[in-house]
């Protein structure tokens, strides 16, 4: 009896494999979205920059300030960064100078000057937790800068 059951299950799985193979490709889009929705996973903020917490509309272009990223596997790291993004590229002035308040005390914590023609960036620190900035990044439709912070 057990032998027959095992044999039946074996053949069933083997037959199912023939269905699974095309279904994997044909239902690929559906399954991908189902996995993403069911697990709720996102790209780690160290790569994506984290969620946007503030957008400033300058008329022609928009500045997006992401949340400060200190995410670690457990707890938080001592050093992190905050990502600032400007888009669309076509509407950006040649030089952008903008101040940012990331801790919500209504005072600018740092100021970034970005030359959108050359990518040159300067950082003015106004808060002791602001450390430095990485180089600027030319995106497909804009620019981004990451400013290093400590907690």
């Amino acid at each position: 009896m057990m032998k027959k059951l095992k044999s039946f299950l074996g053949y069933t799985w083997a037959a199912a494999a023939i269905i699974i193979a095309p279904a994997t490709f044909l239902g690929h889009t559906y399954f991908s979205h189902a996995i993403a929705t069911a697990t709720g996973v996102t790209v780690h903020p160290r790569f994506s920059g984290g969620g946007v917490i503030k957008t400033i509309d300058h008329g022609g272009y928009i500045t997006s300030m992401h949340r400060p990223v200190f995410d670690a596997l457990f707890g938080r790291t001592h050093e992190g960064f905050i990502q600032i993004k400007w888009e669309p590229a076509a509407a950006l002035p040649q030089v952008i100078t903008e101040g940012f308040d990331y801790d919500g005390d209504s005072r600018d914590d740092f100021m970034v000057t970005l030359n959108t023609a050359t990518g040159e960036t300067a950082l003015t620190k106004r808060h002791p937790a602001v450390l430095d900035h990485e180089k600027s990044y030319r995106l497909r439709n804009g620019w981004a800068v990451r400013v290093m912070l400590k907690r």
């Binding site: 083997a14 279904a23 690929h28 903020p45 981004a144």
Partner: protein, 392 residues
């Protein structure tokens, strides 16, 4: 005892006739027609030519698999072609869309890095603990998005177990191609202790990636960066990474496979392969050796590309858990003592060919569908190169 006329050839009395072979190939012809065309024929003449060439080539391979009873001989041709076409298609696509094979930090911020299956083991611990994927890609939306690769991996693992490494992986064919360059192995004695190295690499990359929240293998150890994409060289660190990638590629994918006639990267280094070995424990397809037919010639041990056949496993009548189900040992066995088998079903009863067909249908669907797009693209680009002088 049924002996093959020569290694790998099914006795003429057992070979299906042309009509029966075509009938058995019909489902594959239909499936590949749908998969390769994705529901509609291309309008560009070079693309139509590429589609037809790929379609005929792939189905000819399947026809020969059914007709001759040989698996690995024909699989290897498509598998190696797939890997070569993947490299051609992928690199030209990168240059076309990004202007370079190098991936910049800006590309990473925008999530433009294609996700590959080797990253999967590294993402699991952080995904479980932080609900995030430690990779600069996108979750959904493209064919190379993270969730897409997870779907393909889950599907192929359920269907094939570690057969994934011989019927799905777009890198494995490079290793395999180089392992088939020479007729005889120049290096024959390999310490089997090294077969544990992939597990050590797996352990290492899973731990370091979890703690550093970055895909360590991609950053430091992946030989295939050499033929896909690598981080833009902007510092000593990135230059060192590039040196490591190229050195590992030359050593593990080119030189050692050529000298040993084994898939050295897959068998002695690849952490994804080690990870995938565990899926063999639950997958229903396996390779069995009939002790009644085996004459202990050990040809299977000598030919196994991933060191999955040893004297110990031979004595147990099966392969090790690292078996990639390529079928090379089956083709090599002159005694017909080795065959595909479905777990739970009887070992005797002359159903070996049924078991084989039940395995090669899903396996070939994966190989044909995965390779189809790249083979078509590589052919179309080659035609374009010859007719216009420009590959893009």
């Amino acid at each position: 005892m049924v002996k093959k006329d020569r290694a790998g050839i099914m006795p003429a009395t057992q070979q299906p006739g042309i009509g029966k072979t075509l009938l058995l190939c019909l489902p594959m012809i239909l499936i590949t027609a749908i998969m390769l065309s994705q529901g509609q024929l291309p309008s560009d003449p070079s693309r139509v030519t590429a589609f037809l060439a790929a379609f005929i080539f792939i189905n000819a391979i399947f026809f020969l698999m059914i007709r001759t009873g040989e698996t690995d001989r024909w699989r290897a041709i498509l598998f190696v072609t797939y890997a070569v076409c993947f490299v051609i298609s992928f690199i030209t696509h990168l240059i076309e869309s990004r202007g370079s094979m190098a991936i910049s930090q800006a590309n990473m911020i925008e999530g433009l890095t294609p996700f590959c299956h080797i990253v999967i083991p590294m993402t699991l611990v952080p995904a479980a603990l932080t609900k995030t994927i430690i990779f600069p890609g996108t979750i959904v939306g493209t064919k190379t998005a993270i969730a897409s690769m997870f779907v393909l991996w889950i599907g192929s693992s359920l269907a094939l177990g570690r057969g994934f490494c011989s019927w799905f992986c777009f890198f494995g064919g490079l290793d395999e191609g180089f392992s088939r360059l020479f007729k005889k192995a120049r290096i024959k004695k390999i310490d089997l202790r090294w077969t544990y190295l992939p597990y050590a690499v797996l352990l290492l990359i899973v731990l370091v990636s979890a703690v550093s929240l970055a895909p360590f293998y991609c950053q430091w150890l992946c030989p295939f960066k050499t033929v896909t994409e690598y981080p833009e060289i902007t510092s000593v660190k990135t230059a060192l990474q590039a040196v490591i990638f190229i050195s590992l590629f030359i050593a593990l994918v080119m030189v050692l496979p050529a000298l040993t006639k084994r898939r050295m990267q897959c068998g002695l280094f690849c952490p994804m392969g080690a990870f995938q070995s565990f899926t063999n424990k639950i997958n229903v397809f396996e390779i069995r050796i009939d002790p009644g037919k085996c004459i202990q010639c050990k040809q299977c041990i000598a030919t196994c590309p991933t060191f999955s056949m040893t004297e110990d496993t031979l004595a147990e009548g099966k392969t090790g858990m690292t078996c990639v189900k390529c079928g090379k040992c089956i083709d090599a066995c002159r005694q017909n003592a080795i065959s595909y088998h479905i777990k739970g079903t009887p070992l005797t009863g002359g159903k070996e060919e049924i078991y084989r067909r039940l395995f090669i249908y899903p396996a070939f669907i994966f190989l044909a569908t995965m390779s189809g797009g790249y083979v078509q693209d590589a052919i179309a680009k080659t035609i374009k190169l010859f007719t216009t002088g420009n590959i893009f």
